[in-house]
Amino acid sequence: MSSRTTVVAGSGTRSGAGFAVKLVLMALVDALGVFGVLAAWRAESWGILAAMVALLVAANWVYFSRRTLPLKYVLPGLAFLLVYQVYVIGYTGYVAFTNYGDGHNSTKSQAIEALLVQNERRVEGSPAEPLTVLESGDELGFAVTDEDGRVEVGSATQPLEPAPDAVVGDDGRATQVPGWSVLDRAQVLERQQEVTTLRVPVSDDAEAGSVRTQDARTGYVFRSVLTYDEAADTMTDTSTGTVYSPNDDGQFEAADGSTLPVGWRVTVGFENFATAFGDPRYAEPFVQILLWTFAFAILSVVTTFVLGMFLAMVFNDPRLRGRRIYRTLSILPYAMPGFLAALLWSGMLNKSFGVINQVLLGGADVPWLTDPWLAKLSVLGVNLWLGFPYMFLICTGALQSLPGDVYEAAKIDGAGRWRTWRSITMPLLLVATAPLLISSFAFNFNNFTLIKMLTNGGPRFDDASVPLGHTDILISMVYNVSGLDGTAPRDYGLASALSIVIFVVVGVISALAFRQTRKLEELS
């Protein structure tokens, strides 16, 4: 404690104000952190709590220790990297090895709870009886009034028995019961979970069912069709006597192979990866979609780059007047949200009512989005419109930073315009833009928004037995295969497994390409 004080004093006037600012900022960060920890504590999210505490401790150590200068700069970025990248990738990896999806949405205990709740049925023809919640000592009980106004009282351990001395109010509910105190609304709400889980047996015979209430106003007689045996970990159907025991897929299964509907999440090893490549219905469309994905990503990068570079060079020429206006206009498509633009284009390309056919082509009937080849062309065209401003921007920037002396040297050496462009402008431009082209390839490889909004993958393959189409790319296929679009049961495990496969593909290609660009750098 005292040593820190000396440090501050020793570092002189420079850090006096700075330390105060740091103190306030750290106090704010700590306050937020402690608030987060408290919130996590209340929500019983222990993982988040541990992560918050670790980050908080790390932040305080880094900013109050003298030996951690580099970390002081890196820590915020590092923290966000951990939370938004590493955690997400790690979680996706984990889900890929589970069967998380429809029917396996939750934990086993929640699945058991849900099955029991779903299979507790009201005894047919049993009346709705006005009900009062009672208390005696710590024990809760119910008083129900039958059709003739007679009151019966019981608790979890004590089956219903008549209470002739009870006083019944105007609404048919008991207001006074000897030996019990009647709970008012506020007291009931305070103990609502106990009240909703309380079952008062109708008689000693378990088959007769028990009284329960969902609103603490009316009671019904219920009987459980399923019972859970905790010791044996089995479910028993009391109407048929069938015993269900848990299987490896996270479901209760009977001897004859039938299963109960609600299951839970379990790890399934490499099963998702096997399914991803094992379904024969997907084999043929997969090859077509893979080819188109590469074609789409590569052509998108090439076309946008060529157009962007061409415009950048034209607008870079000092002889051109009003360059600023042209430049501003060319950037406009970049300012529009991509999904909106794609939706607009899909309207404009409508065969009978779209602007393109109606106005520009004078009432032509060109099936822009419904013919396989034209749809591919439309996708590339729209992506060109969306993507060239970006390339235009980076090329303009790179061109303006090219050194003038090289050009002078070229001129002296007698190089022509074409030669200058090919041997000087292009290589120097590529040094600056190649990494961005690679990232643009990775982006377009997974350009889900465009495909989903413009064609939704259509037109469909005629010969395939799965709902996929000629403009589907890998990521939109994943969306479809794993049922995230609602056309099949959702399977997050499969979706995660497939996205990991795509991640590997994109990662390998990018790594190879980056290695190639190093050669370019040697050039300069």
């Binding site: 919130a39 779903q118 979970q193 009240v195 959702r490």
Partner: protein, 408 residues
């Protein structure tokens, strides 16, 4: 010394933040701060979308006044509710109650995120089809509040009389000499929901029904009846009466401009037709059986993991199942109420009465999870038949086998 300053300021800020966190829900229950601070006994969270917010707010206000419970309404995009509910209930972060459509039921119950509701004798006060839609395996899982279905909307200026059959409709439409004889939204991926009444008129419902109206996963849209429907689609597409270029927007705009005397659609379109004289008729049959559209029922689900199950059920069964609440929901959202008393009151409007009459003859949209696999193939096949791209019988048979394959 410095550290204690740090500690004190951190603590103070935390307290302020905590107070804020609890404060935005705690205005009504100042008498009992511990209840608002999060032991969960006095708060009810309800997910609503913007069309229902105002009406649920009224019912919530009434409930707050009577019970002293805070009802917090969280505004969500209707399309996001289903996925978010499925994802958040298992983590314990879900709402106590959410608004939803009945056809989510299959998915919600297989994932164990909804709890049954005991309507008791109140069940009889609802339109039968609405409770039926929320019933699965004998248990009711939702409190219905509105019923939606499509019908034939007629511009009385252009067509003074209701057509009895499909051919009558086309003839009347041609007589009116408008751009389209009648309008039905289609789109390049088809619209099997809007086309369903035509399909049922050929006797090809999508799944077989149990005696209690619920569906079983047994495909019935194939066979001779289905093929007859497919052939009819091809003929009408050839004749130009059906076209995949007519999307929802195009259809609604054309009808609003008086370009057709008929449109097949639901009450959600009516806002755009405000200045037209309308009549609501049953959808004319193209085949020899009655044309039954799908009915969609909107309602409220209770979270299976809710820590406030008692409050949630009390609020739904004793406050939202009242004529006042259901009428308020109707006035806010314009969807015909599910509660008979409110529906009778709303039926003083002939348009609402017209939709209700058609809805009484309709079938609930299947809520079994298998339905998802049907949608994926159904519409596109219809669209391809209409454009003449595929041979009707072959395409329909392939669709049936593809669906069977997808169902596994």
């Amino acid at each position: 010394m410095r550290r204690s300053i740090l500690l004190v300021s951190a603590l103070a800020t935390t307290l302020v933040l905590t107070a804020c966190g609890a404060g935005d829900t705690g205005d009504a229950s100042t008498d009992d701060p511990s209840a608002a601070a999060g032991n969960g006994s006095g708060e009810l969270t309800v997910w609503v979308d913007e069309t229902r917010q105002a009406a649920v707010e009224q019912a919530a206000k009434a409930y707050e006044d009577e019970s002293g419970v805070d009802v917090e309404l969280v505004l969500k995009n209707f399309d996001d509710i289903r996925t978010d509910f499925l994802a958040q209930v298992p983590t314990g972060e879900g709402p106590d109650i959410t608004v939803g459509a009945h056809d989510w039921l299959g998915e919600l119950s297989t994932n164990g995120v909804v709890a049954p509701i005991e309507l008791g004798d109140k069940a009889a006060a609802f339109e039968e089809v609405s409770v039926q839609a929320f019933t699965q395996d004998g248990q009711v899982y939702g409190l219905p509040y509105a019923i939606e279905n499509i019908a034939l909307i007629r511009n009385t200026e252009l067509a003074p009389e209701a057509p009895a059959t499909y051919d009558d409709m086309v003839a009347a439409g041609e007589k009116a000499d408008t751009k389209f004889p009648f309008l039905v939204q289609t789109g390049t991926e088809g619209d099997p929901y809007t086309y369903y009444p035509f399909q049922t008129s050929f006797g090809a419902p999508v799944f077989a029904q149990n005696a209690d109206g619920s569906y079983k996963p047994e495909l019935t849209l194939g066979g001779d009846a289905g093929e007859a429907f497919a052939t009819w689609l091809a003929e009408e597409g050839e004749a130009g009466n059906l076209s995949t270029d007519v999307t929802y927007d195009i259809a609604v705009e054309a009808f609003a401009k008086g370009n057709s005397p008929f449109i097949i659609g639901g009450p959600w379109m009516l806002e755009q037709f405000a200045d037209l004289d309308l009549a609501i008729d049953p959808i004319p049959a193209a085949g020899d059986q009655p044309a039954q559209p799908f009915v969609g029922v909107q309602g409220f689900y209770v979270n299976a993991q809710s820590k406030n199950a008692l409050l949630a059920n009390d609020f739904l069964v004793n406050y939202l199942a009242t004529p006042e609440a259901q009428t308020a929901l109707f006035e806010a959202g314009g969807r015909p109420p599910a509660l008979l008393e409110s529906a009778d009151a709303a039926s003083s409007d002939p348009v609402i009465a017209g939709f209700r009459e058609v809805g009484a003859e309709a079938v609930p949209m299947p809520s079994i999870p298998e339905m998802g696999s049907v949608w994926a193939f159904w519409g596109v096949t219809e669209a391809n038949i209409i454009t003449g791209k595929s041979d009707p019988v072959k395409a329909w048979d392939k669709m049936v086998s593809d669906i069977t394959g997808a169902l596994g």
